[in-house]
Amino acid sequence: MKKTLLYILLVAGIYSCKDVVNEVPDTPFGTTPYSIHYLGSTLPPARLSSDNPLTKEGVQLGRMLFYDPILSADSTQSCASCHNQAHAFTDNGLRFSEGVRGTTGKRNSMPIFNLMWHLDGFFWDGRSDILRHQALVPIEDPTEMDETIGNVLAKLSSSSVYQTEFKKAFNTSTIDEELLGKALEQFMLSIVSGNSKYDRVKQGLESFTDQETVGEIIFNSEAITLNNEQNPNKPANYGADCFHCHGTGNGLFMRREFLSNGLSSNGDLGRGGVNGTAEDNFKFKTPSLRNVEKTAPYMHDGRFNTLEEVVQFYLSDMNATSAVNTNDAPNLHALKDSIYLSPDHKAALVSFLKTLTDEELLTKEEYSNPF
């Protein structure tokens, strides 16, 4: 009974603060506030930038731009070409995305959802501090859209449709770089994933299977090394130690810090390549595990094709192959040696990860191609 009461209180706590996260003190130019509702989800409230409040008109404009190949040099690619809604806005299972010139980049296309909770930069290396800046980078990247912002602005300015849409969203038909970035930012911020089976279970609306329940325990439990598996004093519940970096507490299954996860080097310095700090070499953004079933392949360079491969990597001995000295990385303290997990527990962990898939995100019309 006590447990039931605690659970009800926790659920009530979840329900208390989530009706509107988009705080819009004054909606400008007669625009309509765009309210993001995730009542009852496990996500925290977010504080959005006051200089670009989400409006229905701004989000709609951003959605048009996101799906319009007008942003690319030869009008063949839009943002959505490499960020497909059906794959949680990643690139259709591809390891590296192909740009308009037929060349590929060196990193795996990142998912786009719950970006309003990202506090420390965008891209795998965090090189864009805010989302509106990030949004413009692929336009000029020669391995992606290979266009100039100037050309894009000229193309948009000659379009009566976009002149009208910018006027509605920003009260001006003078289309500039800042407004282009802000419109794309608004659309991307509006994309929220918080209706997975995991969320519904936490709200008491569904139940985990027995296998998923075991998987959740493994996700949230400390790891033990292979050498200790026979130890009679080993803890009753031991697991894969996922939660330290992909914590469930914030409902986002990520951390804000850039971290090394013990991968071997492919020459990509990651965060250290941006800030020039040797300690940050080979560190990358710690991504959310929400929708991870749909975002294959995995890691910054897409080196693993399946979740089973990912789990096996985390169980392996990283000491000899890690790009960083594992002894320099406290977050690898429990992971660096071979970890024991039975085949059943591996399968249970993967089954739990699949409860993070949010079908609503993958199909919601508001996020889909408006054309």
């Binding site: 926790l10 208390s16 925290p44 409230p45 909770w117 507490g249 406290p330």
Partner: protein, 251 residues
């Protein structure tokens, strides 16, 4: 039956809606209150602390710290007349490694104060409350502070990560558990008026590994994630005197 459940849930939800900080401010105090701005200087013995620099701590040779983060709560002030001003629902998230070492307590009533106190860590209700009630810029936002373990375990009160350089081994101490909340009391003597006040504290990281327990990475361990194992018990016992007050004065 299902409807009844949701009605009960709804009523409980209404009872839980006091999520904004504004709700806890007593309007009567606002006219005669001002902020106290805190700065925490981190040292290792007599040296100033810098992340990545090697220091000798406890029974150890060289240790570096890449992360040294903690949460403060349960603030209070004791006035000249002995009365206590408790400061509810205000918290601080400090990161010695990143330089996030300042915070403010707002709406503190004017007065002459002879001491102050706070806790390293959180009381049980807050520790086990919903971490997702806080905006992402709040000290207790779990995405902001990366100090939350999950709903049942609550918050990490102090996270110490780095390296035992001599042994070439990483160290990671995640110290948690409401029962381990550490109370700090500091003598002060200052008059707080309309200009607000400034308080400078010092946190000696060496104390965590020194007094009363001389902590050895080799013998005691290089990691803990438990609220009551010998490692966390030893380190928590050393926490009580890590803070000293450098100065407190009106601005």
């Amino acid at each position: 039956m299902k409807n009844t459940f949701y009605i009960i849930l709804g009523l409980l939800a209404i009872g839980f809606t006091s999520c904004t900080e504004d709700d806890v401010i007593n309007p009567a105090l606002e006219a005669n209150s001002a902020s106290i701005d805190f700065t925490v200087n981190h040292t290792v013995g007599t040296q100033n602390f810098t992340a990545g620099t090697a220091y000798s701590v406890g029974a150890n040779g060289n240790a570096t710290f890449s992360r040294f983060a903690y949460l403060l709560g349960s603030f209070y002030l004791i006035a000249e007349d002995g009365s206590t001003v408790t400061i509810d629902s205000q918290y601080a998230h400090i990161e010695a490694h990143s330089g996030k070492t300042t915070f403010s307590l707002v709406d503190i009533p004017y007065g002459t104060y002879k001491s102050m106190g706070f806790s390293i860590g959180l009381d049980s209700a807050i520790n086990h409350g919903n971490p997702n009630q806080y905006n992402t810029d709040h000290p207790l936002s779990s995405i902001n502070n990366s100090l939350h373990w999950g709903w049942l375990a609550g918050y990490i009160f102090t996270a110490i990560e780095g390296k035992d350089v001599d042994a070439d081994e990483s160290i990671i101490f995640h110290l948690a558990g409401a029962k381990n909340k550490t109370n700090v009391s500091l003598a002060a003597n200052f008059t707080h008026g309309e200009t607000g006040s400034a308080v400078i504290l010092e946190y000696d990281i060496a104390e965590v590994f020194t007094s009363p327990n001389n902590f050895s990475f080799t013998n005691d361990g290089r990691s803990t994630h438990s609220i009551s194992d010998p490692v966390s018990t030893k380190l928590f016992a050393n926490m009580a005197d890590v803070f000293t007050l450098t100065s407190a004065a009106s601005k």
